[in-house]
């Protein structure tokens, strides 16, 4: 009987504490009468992936500059919500509808993953706040490969697609695959014949160096050091114009090789659905300040990121256009859901 008593006490405890919890959770809303808005409690940035990845790094660096440069006085915490390639984190933020103190960092997978049918939330469900940085794709081959530019590669692919293998980190239908397909399609390659393998342990570069595969589809910054050392060569990058910086400026764009297509790996921040307009305006301005700050310029330089600021409205427009293009590609590949 004593056990029974004990269980009852435990249950009672739970009930009481839960009951207490319900009064104390009144949502703070920082809107004042004149329409301006200021955060009133700590801000939470969700990195929808584990510690150490691109999203996590961006979020932590942004939080750091915001606080250290006193752009935002309220403290900012980065929370990791990993799973489903981001879907778990997005569902979490979607649960904070209307909050002005939650946001998450995102990049093109926010478009790919819903299109692949792997997340019920897409960018339309959230409030775009601002884009901050851009990165571009690079297509690399071994230094002694027979191709010297994208056109030579694509010509061979048109002739005998089964002889060329492309490697990337993400699975088919996501970033590394689609960025290659997008450019190849513009060059007239039959995209359904492209042989693509995914190597999720980030061993793509190894496979390129040991000759298992022929082309490595990756981010620009991952190639610089190898090119410097002369182990690989970059046939093309996906930016509009040539990039700046040592080595980077030598990479030809796809555009200048007559392939009229680009791919941007943008990275920006989103709020939950129906975020207060005044709050969006507040953050837009703060992100602009961040983007213009010297401290953040140093960080961009360190990680090899490009500056690419977009305010909420422009961002929203941009995302809509991008999504449409990707949708067309996926449909052609039979990957769209």
């Amino acid at each position: 009987m004593k056990k029974f008593l004990l269980l009852t006490v435990f249950a009672l405890f739970m009930v009481i504490t839960v009951a207490c919890s319900s009064d104390s959770s009144g949502e703070a809303d920082g809107s004042s009468d004149d329409g301006s808005w200021e955060p009133e409690e700590p801000i939470e940035i969700v990195a929808p992936a584990g510690a150490g990845g691109g999203w996590d790094t961006t979020a932590r660096m942004v939080a750091k500059v915001f606080n250290e440069e006193s752009i935002i006085e309220e403290s900012i915490g980065v929370v990791n919500k990993a799973g489903g390639g981001g879907a778990v984190g997005w569902a979490y933020v979607a649960g904070h509808e209307g909050s002005g103190h939650n946001m998450f960092v995102a990049s093109p997978p926010l478009l790919f993953i819903p299109l692949n049918g792997q997340s019920e939330y897409g960018h339309e469900d959230f409030t775009p706040i601002a884009n901050v940085i851009a990165d571009y794709a690079a297509f690399a081959v071994a230094a002694d490969a027979k191709w010297d530019n994208l056109n030579e590669l694509f010509d061979d692919m048109k002739e005998d697609p089964s002889s060329i293998t492309v490697v990337g980190t993400s699975s088919p239908g996501s970033m590394d695959h689609i960025q290659f397909v997008k450019i190849a399609k513009a060059a007239g390659v039959d995209v359904t014949k492209i042989k693509y393998v995914s190597d999720q342990d980030g061993v793509g570069l190894t496979q390129l160096l040991n000759g298992s595969v022929d082309v490595f589809s990756t981010g620009v910054s991952e190639t610089v050091e190898q090119v410097k050392a002369g182990t690989i060569k970059v046939l093309g990058v996906t930016s509009e114009e040539r990039l700046e910086g040592e080595i980077l400026e030598d990479f030809p764009t796809a555009k200048e090789q007559g392939i009229d297509e680009t791919f941007v790996n943008w990275r920006g921040f989103f709020g939950p659905p129906n975020m207060d307009e005044a709050a969006v305006a507040y953050y837009e301005e703060k992100f602009k300040e961040l983007s213009d700050s010297e401290a953040f310029a140093d960080i961009r330089k360190q990680f090899g990121w490009d500056e690419m600021y977009m305010g909420s409205e422009e961002y929203s427009q941009f995302l809509g256009d991008e999504k449409e293009k990707i949708q067309t590609l996926l449909d052609e590949l039979g990957l769209g859901q």
Binding site: G83, N116, Q207
Partner: protein, 495 residues
């Protein structure tokens, strides 16, 4: 600048006051975080990155490297004492470490783990220093067919992990492999067995299964035996002094598995976890008394501990000399380099010798510090076992819960932990061994991907596995290791 000159510069960096101080901080934080539930080297490095921002790169990186191998070093403690591995590289440590602690020899088990870790760490740093530039070609020698063959070799050892029925061991393995197929398939983007649940898209985390199958299943046994006084000797810690016999037992496995662990660590994508498993099973294969494995064998504890620490240093080969991160942990480590404005890659050794050699040289000091830090603390750690059973059970559960929660910050994984706790307990009472399950879970997933990558590259031809010389030789070795025991048995029967 020649290599020798570079090495000297490295030692100057490492043995400077600043260098020594930061190594000390690094390994201290590393072991500490490694002991905390769920926090492995990845989170340890990630949390240190913002701290190093703005620091001088050489001492900062020396510290980060210390955090990394320190975390692996510290991870074995909870494996041995609680059967609750805190990092995935320490799962194989629990196979013999925990039984040893249960026999009242916790002090000895922890001492063996610390010494073998130190040994593995030091041997591999030596190899790193002598061979790093040359080994970079080994690091890229393995293509998908060779990885497939390597994983297959690991899997063929499963029957040796069984304590009784081979059929049951194989069933465990197939089940573990099946669990590994849950999630998005990397080669096609197809969702497999996810039931539309977003939490399953990336598959189940290794620690969820390890903590469920080992820690929670053990909790169940503890609950059943909680009043059993004959188990009293588990409260004993025992002396941490090693006898001559112990040292003789340790010597062989520690040396062999340090070498093997180092080589596996050099291969991108393999890492400490696979190294520790392969070390364990290969040591069991060649042991004179394999039946002692799993029951507190000194060899069974020495092998994975030497190997996982050796693999950690091995992982620095592709990272430093090629700029290729071979694992999630080294990818974060690469991030740490970038933050400090250092780009690892083929040019690092000539451009920044003070960093390349400084990090390597500091590992000698780091390993010595780890040993000095850990040995005197063993009696205190081992006191955990003195905690009265009921309280200990509650704390192990808490430990497992934080461990799993810290992976994804998501309660879904906790339900999975509970589920695998039940599965682990059922497997235990029906005599299905758990190690084949976990081994197949980790090797199987990688094996499948490598197999299918190979087939895509070869346009569907199986010949690719025979044409690749590394793959072919590994396949022959696994075939032989399968056939030999059979032949031996047949001969015995005839005789």
């Amino acid at each position: 600048m020649g290599s020798l000159e570079g090495i000297l510069t490295g030692f100057q960096v490492a043995f400077s006051l600043e260098g020594v101080l930061f190594v000390l901080i690094g390994v201290f934080v590393g072991t500490f975080i490694g002991m905390l539930p769920g926090l492995g080297p990845i989170s340890a490095i990630a949390v240190m990155i913002p701290i190093t921002f703005g620091m001088d790169p050489a001492p900062a990186l020396v510290m980060m490297a210390g955090v990394y191998y320190g975390a692996i070093f510290g991870g074995s403690t909870s494996s041995i004492l609680l059967n609750a591995p805190g990092v995935s590289g320490a799962v194989a440590t629990a196979f013999d470490g925990y039984p040893m602690a249960q026999q009242g020899k916790a002090g000895k088990a922890l001492a063996i783990a610390a010494i073998c870790s130190f040994f593995g760490g030091t041997v591999s740093v030596l190899l790193l220093m002598l061979l790093a530039p040359a080994l970079s070609s080994v690091a890229i020698a393995f293509g998908p067919p060779a990885y497939f063959a390597l994983m297959l070799m690991g899997l063929t050892a499963i029957s040796s992990l069984s304590e009784g029925s081979t059929i049951k061991a194989l069933l465990s393995a197939v089940a573990g492999f099946m669990v590994a197929t849950i999630g998005i398939d990397a080669q096609t983007g197809t969702q497999r067995f996810t039931f539309g649940n977003v939490n399953l898209l990336e598959g189940l985390d290794f620690l969820v299964i390890a903590l469920g199958l080992f820690a929670l299943a053990e909790v169940c046994t503890l609950i059943i035996n909680r009043k059993d006084l004959s188990q009293e000797n588990t409260h004993k810690i025992g002396s941490m002094k090693l006898s001559k016999e112990d040292i003789n037992e340790m010597k062989g496995p520690a040396t062999r598995q340090s070498l093997l662990g180092f080589i596996i660590g050099v291969l991108p994508g393999a890492g400490a976890t696979i190294a520790s498993f392969i070390a364990y099973i290969s040591e069991k294969k060649i042991a004179k008394n394999p039946e002692e494995f799993g029951k507190g064998s000194v060899r069974g504890l020495a092998a994975p501990e030497a190997a996982n620490n050796a693999a950690t240093s091995g992982a620095f080969v592709p990272l430093l000399s090629l700029g290729i991160p071979g694992s999630g942990t080294t990818a974060v480590m690469l991030g740490a380099f970038l933050v400090l404005g250092v780009q690892p890659g083929p040019l690092l050794m000539t451009d920044r010798p003070e960093i390349f050699w400084g990090v390597i040289a500091s590992m000698y000091i780091g390993n010595v510090f780890l040993l000095i830090l850990n040995l005197p603390l063993i009696p205190y750690f081992a006191k955990i076992l003195k905690i009265p059973r009921p309280l200990l059970i509650s704390l192990v559960i808490m430990f497992s819960i934080i461990g799993v929660y810290a992976i994804s910050f998501n309660t879904f994984d906790l339900y999975m932990l509970l589920l695998f706790g039940v599965v682990g307990f059922l497997m235990r009472i029906f005599s299905f061994p758990a190690p084949p399950f976990i081994l197949a879970f980790i090797l199987g997933g990688m094996m499948e991907q490598a197999f299918r990558q190979s087939l895509t590259i070869s346009n569907g031809s199986l010949m690719i596995f025979v044409q690749d010389p590394i793959a072919l030789s590994l396949l022959i070795v696994s075939l032989l290791s399968f056939v030999f025991p059979l032949v031996r048995q047949l001969r015995k029967r005839k005789g």
